[in-house]
């Protein structure tokens, strides 16, 4: 317990003292980027009258329908779900976990800790994830991305002070390549297998779970001893990440008719897109 606290305090202290200048400074209230010449004047009244959204045209020309059907037939997020009862229970558990614990804690954390620190912490953990991304890029034969990851790691660990800053992105415009072993297996042609929802970890598939176990071995945090410290760091990382995404989960959940199916479908589509990238 004491150890874990020490670790968290250590990260906090580092964050506070070292990085104020290094992290991305995203200024509050900065105007969105867009080409001013591209803004076309919007005369709303005219536009409204142009296309009243009355569902009067309820019939649909077959040919026209087919044109769209084709697009959706191939790309649904269909997946075998033999563990459905377990998965539904876990989905429910994770949902409650989010609303009762993760969300209030993250909200409190967000209120106390300045954004610049949270971004720094997020950068730090992202930098620690380099071995996972680097290995996956390498195994997929993505040489350019491998190089990028390497340069990013070297630069951010040094100039970026242990990864709290992200000068590689800021100065060299080098973005991370978000690869993991689950995606690598996907690139090798291995299918999803079946859908599975893990407690706390969320949606996954057989393939991605195998990948996840591999990823663990590449994650430096997993080599932290004792177990309590490891757990503390992982929880802290989760809270920090969640502090940026409060409201995201709710908005997807509220827009769904069948939340369980919605998240299952979204997960499969999301991973599929990532594998294809």
């Amino acid at each position: 317990m004491k150890n874990r606290l020490e670790y968290i305090l250590f990260i906090f202290a580092l964050a506070f003292f070292l990085l104020s200048g290094c992290a991305h400074d995203r200024k509050k209230g900065s105007t969105p980027h867009f080409d001013p010449t591209a803004v076309s004047p919007v005369s709303q009244d005219q536009d409204i009258s142009l296309s009243k959204e009355t569902p009067s045209d309820l019939e649909m020309n077959d040919e026209f329908f087919d044109e769209f059907e084709e697009e959706y037939k191939g790309r649904s997020g269909r997946v075998a779900d033999p563990l459905s009862p377990w998965n539904r229970a876990m989905f429910h558990f994770n949902d409650k976990f989010y609303f009762w614990l993760l969300k209030p804690v993250s909200k409190g954390y967000k209120a106390i800790v300045p954004e610049v620190v949270r971004i720094g912490v997020s950068n730090f953990f992202c930098n620690l994830g380099t071995p996972i991304r680097l290995t996956s890029c390498l195994l997929q034969g993505k040489m350019k991305a491998t190089g990028t990851e390497l340069v990013r790691f070297l630069m951010n660990s040094t100039v970026g002070v242990l990864g709290f800053g992200d000068p590689a992105q800021k100065c060299l415009k080098l973005d991370i390549t978000d690869e993991d072993l689950g995606q690598t297996l996907g690139v090798y042609g291995i299918g999803n297998g079946f859908y599975v929802v893990w407690p706390l970890l969320g949606p996954s598939t057989l393939r991605d779970s195998v990948g996840m176990v591999g990823d663990w071995f590449l994650d430096p945090v997993l080599y932290v001893e004792p177990f309590g410290a490891k757990l503390g760091i992982l929880s802290y990382e989760k809270v920090n990440e969640t502090s940026f995404r409060i409201g995201d989960y709710e908005s997807i959940r509220d827009a769904a008719i069948e939340p369980y199916e919605a998240f299952r479908d979204a997960y499969i589509q999301y991973r599929k897109t990532k594998v294809e990238k």
Partner: protein, 193 residues
């Protein structure tokens, strides 16, 4: 022979520019609307309810909500509905889309929206945008088709997840075991928040 070649070449160039024009027109249209939405979002003095209304007003002409309703049920179910069911379903689903879109967009704080080069996919145009948010980038793909008088959005993909596709599988789930009336009931039921 040579003149034929020129002819083919010429028509190819012509069709190319026509295509380029199409994607350009679609992109500009979308840009205009999104920028107008951002302007509303920046008016922090407005009440949220007013903001929502304004935003819906702006996107109405470019979002083809009634087509989205049809696509969400798909050819498998849509033609089998009675006229009343179609009407009722469209009403409820469009309301759901509008609510969730305007609610989602109110989460917007100070992200930058970056437009990438649009892609022509068969007869459609896909306009990729990236939302640079606090500590990550979110990709949003707007899919447009050419309707009688202009380009209109029929689907949005967020991080590769298609809105329509996700609804399709949910509706399929409900309709596999239940009837269309069950689905309408589910759509009517207000969410417990």
């Amino acid at each position: 022979m040579k003149s034929l070649l020129y002819c083919v070449l010429f028509s190819m160039i012509l069709s190319q520019t026509a295509m380029a024009d199409d994607t350009k027109v679609a992109e500009e249209l979308l840009k205009g609307k999104i920028n107008a939405v951002i302007l509303v979002l920046e008016k922090k003095e407005l009440e949220q309810q007013t903001q929502k209304k304004e935003i819906i007003k702006i996107v109405m002409p470019i979002f083809d909500f009634s087509l989205m309703a049809k696509l969400a049920l798909g050819k498998k179910y849509w033609p089998g509905l009675t006229k009343e069911q179609k009407q009722r379903f469209s009403e409820l689903f469009i309301k759901l889309l509008k609510d969730s879109y305007s609610e989602k967009i109110l989460l917007y704080t100070d992200e930058k929206i970056h437009f990438e080069t649009p892609v022509q996919v068969k007869k459609k145009v896909h306009v990729p945008t990236v939302l640079n948010s606090k500590n990550n980038n979110i990709s949003m793909l707007y899919k447009l088709y050419k309707s009688k008088n202009s380009w209109r959005v029929y689907d949005i993909e967020v991080q590769g997840v298609s809105l329509i596709s996700t609804y399709r599988s949910q509706f399929d789930e409900v309709l596999r075991t239940g009837t269309i009336d069950d689905l309408l009931l589910k759509l009517e039921k207000p969410k417990n928040k």
